[in-house]
């Protein structure tokens, strides 16, 4: 073998230049470094839902608003308004790139080619995100987006990612280079130890759902790569389209609360309101089959939603449990399938709320064999820096960006956890009555 010199100390890797995260963060100190650099640096289900909305409700006027559920984090004191505007402006300068469009048009999602229809792709290729409205209110920012639903909805993930990462950068700003490197060394070790525990769980199926509250883009990208190596076939993919494309893994996701929330806000009578969540799934049923037919039942209470569901819904592939006690939610779903004459072992249950390794191991042990079990692991995969800096300044917190109104009507979310409820009090009361939701148990919303 010949001696091939490698002066100077330049790094090579199989997939292009490698990234030293600590150095990168260090560099944030002296230049503006865009956080979101692609319109597909977003969750896959946003694009699926966007296509559905583009087809079914393209002209609905919606308002999305940023809500910091962890008020003790004074975002407006931590994050500079000028920097925030620069990042948001940068997102508005983004257009779908040729390579991204090719990937979306040519890729197979859940075994299906041409998941995205030509008319949607043409629209997406011409898309610029609409203007934003930013105001400081005391120690928080009021950040809202108004316009046509298909455009406005695509602000959710990049807006959250920008806020989360600007907060990380602000906290890291005064740390020195090796302090930073050791901080990331500790965080990497922690993620790896979690992966090593998950590796020991037979039959595990898990995906990354951590885009929206990630520590940073590069960190999420690192976590995904670590999962690829550490978990092999147990890791089924990521919700992040850009990372899925770059790392050549599956893009994962189905649908979210915004569909029933907006459909419900548009309902003109209580009868229409009661039917709205099923209308959503009826539209979805027409568009998708197989693994994309996943019920998200908790927007207005899981129990009542399932009790009143039409029979065709019991034929769907699975259910996603995103609030309340996850074991209770899964038991409810299993009973419901049995009542409707379905075999739960043919069904998939996806857990996606506030997961970490202990809870994953516990839920897997309890439900494995009783149904097909998957996990969508979010914030505590891509943002577990708890205890790593003074005053726990990098601990994750609960930031959301939600549809708050549709065609002038406020939206409402009840969820299986009253701590996650949203909407004006009178509307919340009306929805509780229409959907028959009684007293609910509270669960702390940490992430």
């Amino acid at each position: 073998m010949a001696v091939r010199l490698a002066y100077p100390w330049v790094i090579h890797s199989e997939r292009g230049p490698s990234v030293d995260i600590a150095t990168r963060v260090y560099n944030h100190k002296w230049k503006i470094d865009p956080i979101v650099r692609s319109l597909i640096d977003t969750d896959f289900y946003k694009l699926l839902m966007c296509q559905s909305v583009f087809r079914n409700k393209p002209d609905t006027q919606v308002t999305f608003s940023l809500i910091n559920r962890t008020m003790r984090i004074p975002l407006a004191r931590i994050i500079d308004e000028g920097e925030l505007r620069e990042q948001l402006d940068h997102i508005r300068s983004l257009r779908l790139s040729r390579g991204e469009s090719t990937w979306l048009r040519g890729n197979t999602f859940y075994g299906k080619r041409q998941m995205f229809r030509p008319d949607f792709m043409e629209w997406f290729e011409g898309l610029q995100l609409p203007p934003y409205h930013l105001e400081r209110r005391d120690d928080q920012y009021e950040l809202t987006f108004e316009g046509n639903w298909p455009e406005v909805m695509l602000w959710e993930i990049p807006a959250l990612a920008v806020l989360m990462e600007l907060r990380s950068r602000a906290v890291l700003h005064d740390m020195r280079r090796f302090e930073l490197q050791v901080l990331y060394a500790r965080a990497m070790t922690r993620v790896w130890e979690k992966i090593e525990r998950l590796r020991g769980i037979d039959g595990l199926t898990i995906a990354d759902f951590g885009t929206r509250r990630r520590h940073s883009f590069l960190w999420q990208d690192w976590c995904v790569q670590a999962m690829i190596e550490g978990l092999g076939a147990k890791f089924t993919g990521t919700s992040n389209c850009l990372i899925a494309m770059r790392r050549e893994v599956e893009a994962i996701g189905t649908n979210a609360h915004e569909l029933p929330m907006v459909y419900s806000a548009l309902a003109e009578t209580d009868t229409e309101l009661a039917r709205a969540p099923y209308d959503v799934l009826s539209d979805w049923h027409e568009e998708h089959d197989g693994n994309l037919r996943i019920i998200l039942p908790d927007t207005y209470g899981t129990k009542g939603f399932l009790d009143r569901a039409p029979d065709w819904l019991a034929g769907w592939t699975g259910i996603r449990i995103d609030s309340g006690d996850p074991a209770e939610g899964a038991e409810t779903a299993i009973s419901w399938w049995k009542d409707r004459g379905e075999n739960p072992t043919d069904k998939r249950i996806i857990f996606s709320d506030g997961l970490d390794v202990d809870k994953i191991a516990e839920l897997h042990a309890r439900f494995s064999g009783r149904a097909k079990i998957s996990f969508g692991w979010g914030t505590l995969l891509t943002n577990d820096f708890r205890g790593l800096v003074p005053d726990d300044g990098l601990a994750p917190f609960s930031l959301v960006c939600k549809a708050v109104s549709a065609n002038g009507h406020p939206t409402v979310k009840l969820s299986d956890n009253p701590e996650k409820a949203m909407g004006p009090a009178d509307e919340v009361a009306r929805y509780k009555r229409v959907f028959g939701v009684g007293r609910q148990t509270s669960y702390a919303v940490e992430v």
Copy 2:
């Protein structure tokens, strides 16, 4: 501020491209990557001693030999002979570069300019290291170097560094990329936690002495940079000339056992032998002053050496404790200075044997204020991967490369620890008699 784009994900830093160590190690799997890339990737004291030898004993014929004191590590089974030869051949292809020569000629060492004389520099600029002799003997390598002392002596550090790093690479070879990254994350965290402890010690003075048994070059370079950031003025520099040059810190070192060992082997009578260690220091005294006048007393027993030392030696700046019980060695030195009418608080004691943070803290607490205290921290700074891979395959071990003969006479080392003794039994007995060394306490030699 303008948004400056930084596509693609390329890394910038103040001092050139940054190094992702794990990626680098990963890359070792498919190409030969030279370990020693410069003739000054060596300890500073080798160059100081080389200049002294070049002036005083240029024609002495010496043999240096590699000795693995940790026989349970079967180096020849771990390291491929072909790869070892390629690395050694590469070292023979090295010449002093223009920039390195400029740095040696122009730099200030211990406050003195032109530490290296023009005739020595001219010789060094033309130097190619002499041939090596490599044979496998069972599970160990017999690696020897023969020729003129000034040339042969410069093989010691690169030969050790090559063996140590090939062993690291062999152990890491089957690890995957993120496993490697997490391994380094853990090692970084460990070094940083040591640095944080050292930061808390008031008045500490510490240098890196870890070249010869480092895990790898890049790792030593990382450790030095971490010390620069983490310890500030408490970190006084590194023994490694290349790293001192690149990182702009002091090159540190004075002299070592090879001088008294070779001088002693050349002695023709017992009287000459008894005087030989003092002849070394007499030659050194003529060449150097100030901080370079550091006594290394333990080659043939510290106690007797100091008792029989001429008075001018008590006027030297300090002493280096490199074997035996370090506290006992320091107490011996302090008493000796007092006996000779010197004030120990004006003197420097340098500890350099098998140090780690606990021992450093303990010695500092005990001797601080009684003398000027410094630490030369070696293997457990630059090679503490204990417990980080299965079977502890990266634990440091005791590899040395020593002068074993001079002009055909075997060399002898007694040290203050019989475990570190070297030489034929009859010669060891003769030296013990001549230097009045009685029973010695054994200390385990770990690193």
